[in-house]
Amino acid sequence: MNLGQRYPATIVWLILVSLTMTSWWLGTEREVQASGPQMAVTMGVIILAFIKVRLILFQFMEVRSAPRLLRGICDGWVIGMCVLLLTLIGSLQGR
């Protein structure tokens, strides 16, 4: 049993793999249906990526039971980075 995890490692792995396959489906299958750039797909795969990042940080890396400062920094990084990238994508990518 791991000190810092709410869920067993294998459950976390299952969730991560599911999110990966969802992202994969979004990024590949959806492409067939419409030609040209798709903002929804781009933002979707990025958001899914950062959900996975937070899962890895808080579960595998046991930030979940770490001191509040570390938890805050990690959450800050995840949210800040995600918002930064989405904002850049949204504002710069004209189409």
Partner: protein, 197 residues
């Protein structure tokens, strides 16, 4: 900093820093550097959108997916291994770290396949701006993977010898934290380079 020996309560506020504080300074710093590279990639991509989308289509997404699954699995093994080590099940822990190392080797093989396919097609770092980012981001990450595999090999050796003090477990956790970071970085690189369009 010592972990409580009693079973954690549901709240699990152990306030335990996994590994040395120094590794977290390094990990967060490294993540931030990569984050800035990601932001730069998006900015440049917006300026030469057609070029990037066109070049991105030449990437092998299957290789990328396999690599993602390999790293996620390796992280799972490492997390399980740390758990076993905490329960003094050293042989089991060492075996799990070895499985994680195998995943790392698998990742490296796929990476070499991917790179050689590109290079054989004449696509290098200088081919265009997208490929410059591609080689730089994946290459920098691959370097981290190689270092990570050395760290895992070290963990296997340490685990086999057993832990006599709390400090040893801290070293173990530090190594595990580094490896998870390697996984975490790829989780962002994959959709950024291979999937978004």
């Amino acid at each position: 900093m010592a972990a409580p020996s009693a079973a954690p309560s549901r709240r699990q506020t152990t306030d335990h820093v996994p590994g040395e504080v120094g590794i977290w300074v390094f990990v967060l710093g490294d993540m931030t550097v990569f984050g800035l590279l990601f932001a730069a990639y998006i900015v440049y991509r917006a300026q030469s959108f057609e070029l990037y989308v066109h070049s991105q289509a030449t990437l092998d997404r299957t290789y990328g997916l396999i690599n993602t699954l390999l790293l996620l699995t390796s992280s799972c093994f490492v997390a399980l291994g740390v758990g076993r080590a905490r329960q003094a099940q050293n042989r089991s822990a060492a075996r799990l770290f070895a499985l994680a190392l195998c995943c790392g080797v698998g990742f490296s093989l796929v990476k070499c396949l991917e790179y050689s396919a590109k290079l054989n097609a004449g696509i290098t770092l200088n081919s265009n701006e997208f490929y410059a980012f591609y080689y730089m981001l994946t290459g920098l990450h691959f370097l981290h993977v190689i270092i990570g595999m050395l760290v895992l090999a070290f963990l296997i050796g340490r685990t086999r010898r057993g832990f006599s003090a709390e400090a040893d477990l801290s070293v173990l956790e530090s190594g595990a934290t580094y490896w998870h970071m390697v996984d975490l970085l790829w989780i962002v690189i994959f959709p950024l380079l291979y999937l978004m369009h």
